[in-house]
Symmetry: C2
Subunit: 325 residues, 2 copies
């Protein structure tokens, strides 16, 4: 259970905790550059719509965050996430006319690249006798799609890719995005598919040097990461449409945890998924209902993100209309 | 200090510990396939030499191992390592006439790919108007080199690439390699550049489900990974030339730790490197001497692996000659 350590002032605690978290976090190296990119992206999407309304913009988070165990980092705790859900969802959001800020873990799956092999350069290309580089015919289609679709979305100004590695980078960039999307009101969406660490070693209490493998076992105490969803909804982006994800390996506790996240963090939607079946189906939990979304098994290569994003877009439309009324 | 928990039977303990480690480890999924590849590779290198002696074969390990914290793994501890040292060294070993078994962490740097950008497919290629794929002229040389050199080494039978992720996979594959290289005697070398976890959660004591972010901090107790270097030298590959690496962030303790590793595990050489200067210089520690190896700063793009591998090859030659005598 996500208890608040027994305090009566539940609403104050996450805010103070996240304040302390940011104050002790190592500063973001390329903050100014990210700020500029975000400003350009949001400006373009605020002014480019035809009907006077802002474009719809979704921030998709993808991949897992790391938690360093040492300041001069040799070891860290990582959360498993291939980034498949986030990158696939980004493709469908773009198709549905959204502009996407793709906040992704370095090295994880990229939009339009899902069908590529692990090491596309070495597996998809050959060099010919006159030593020019050629795509292997068996991979030609997926390689072409990856390159052309990515270039078109990025150059067209519909896709902004921002990488992170640590939990410190992730939360700081997410806050910058949230603040910069405020001007879009309910047209902005957060689709938080990243696997965010629950536990971390506070920067100020972290050892500077590599932990020595001494005699005997290593005992570690990890602190809880402050509940960022609460602060996102209540302070950073109070008007945006917010969707969080709940991944569990134990089906018995999944829906209970999803329900709790919905109420506690006032999410508009929680996508509940179980580790072993997450590519087959997810359960969309809202205040009103629970909807099971399954991939179309009659179609080869069909994924669960296709119907999921259709449902998300419909619900976002209803939310915008309701906000206008 | 790497004490042996106060036992008098120091030489027995690592063997028993590693036995227990393997017995409790999850079995390797593709063990049969790896076995076949190794057999073909070693057979080819045992018979192809002209003077009746076996080819020189080096097993280069590269990248960091992960330690799962849950059986249905969502979280794990990782060791930072880009795989740059291992992949660069592999290139120079191939150039020096060695055949290389490259045991690498999935997703880390590959031989001949060091100069490529993070996401080579999306950054190096463009699609033309007739929708064919072209290499961007500014990246043409590095892309061509990566593809042609890799194909040539793999297809020529000089380079066998084997990936791992967890500490369990790493140690099991390393043992298979060590056993299969025994027939090559002193012509075999182990160049252990991978960043191997010192601590792990024993499989049988691991939680099955995702650890819940409950109320308050998380306390973890991690066991020490058995000292594999000892078993490698004493049992798996007693005649091979063995080089291990010592990375520290604290210069003051680095050489002491390197000396200790040399004596305790009977390594032929320990390469000592400090995190912040590891791309500029390393110190080669042997029983006889300590040699500082620096990259040639007068040459643009020169790396420390070039002179390092020259020194390693010379010392391996002396070792082989000494064994013959």
């Amino acid at each position: 259970m996500d208890s608040m350590n027994g305090t009566d002032h539940e609403s104050e605690t996450p805010t103070l905790k996240i304040k302390a978290f940011f104050e002790s976090a190592p500063p973001l190296k390329d903050a100014a550059e990210i700020e500029t990119k975000l400003k350009e992206f949001v400006d373009r999407n605020s002014s480019s719509s035809e009907n006077g309304k802002a474009n719809r913009v979704v921030c998709v988070t993808s991949g897992g965050t790391t938690v360093p165990l040492e300041k001069r980092c040799v070891r860290y705790i990582d959360n498993f996430s291939s980034g498949h859900r986030g990158s696939a969802s980004t493709e469908y959001f773009l198709k549905a006319g959204y502009s996407v800020i793709f906040l992704y873990r370095r090295g994880t799956c990229q939009p339009f690249c899902r069908s590529l092999p692990d090491d596309p350069l070495l597996e998809c290309f050959t060099s010919t006798d006159d030593s020019s580089i050629q795509v292997d015919p068996s991979h030609a289609e997926v390689v072409k799609r990856a390159i052309t679709e990515t270039r078109s979305a990025v150059n067209g100004g519909f896709l902004l890719k921002l990488p992170f590695t640590t939990i410190f980078e992730y939360l700081q960039i997410l806050r910058m995005i949230a603040v910069s999307l405020r001007s879009l009101g309910p047209s902005a969406m957060f689709y938080l598919a990243a696997a965010v660490s629950d536990f971390y070693v506070p920067w100020e209490s972290m050892t500077i040097h590599k932990i020595q493998s001494g005699s005997g076992p290593l005992d570690m105490r990890l602190a809880q990461v402050p509940k960022m969803l609460y602060v996102l909804r209540n302070e950073w982006a109070p008007v945006a449409f917010c969707i969080s994800f709940k991944l569990e390996t134990d089906t018995d506790i999944l829906l209970g945890k999803a329900d709790m996240a919905l109420k506690k963090y006032k999410m508009h939607m929680v996508v509940a998924n179980e580790l072993s079946t997450r590519k087959e189906e997810v359960i969309v939990v809202t205040e009103q209902e629970k909807i099971t979304v399954r991939r179309d098994t009659t179609q080869a290569g069909a994924d669960v993100e296709n119907p999921l994003i259709k449902l998300v877009v419909d619900m976002h439309s209803a939310y915008i209309n309701h906000s206008d009324a």
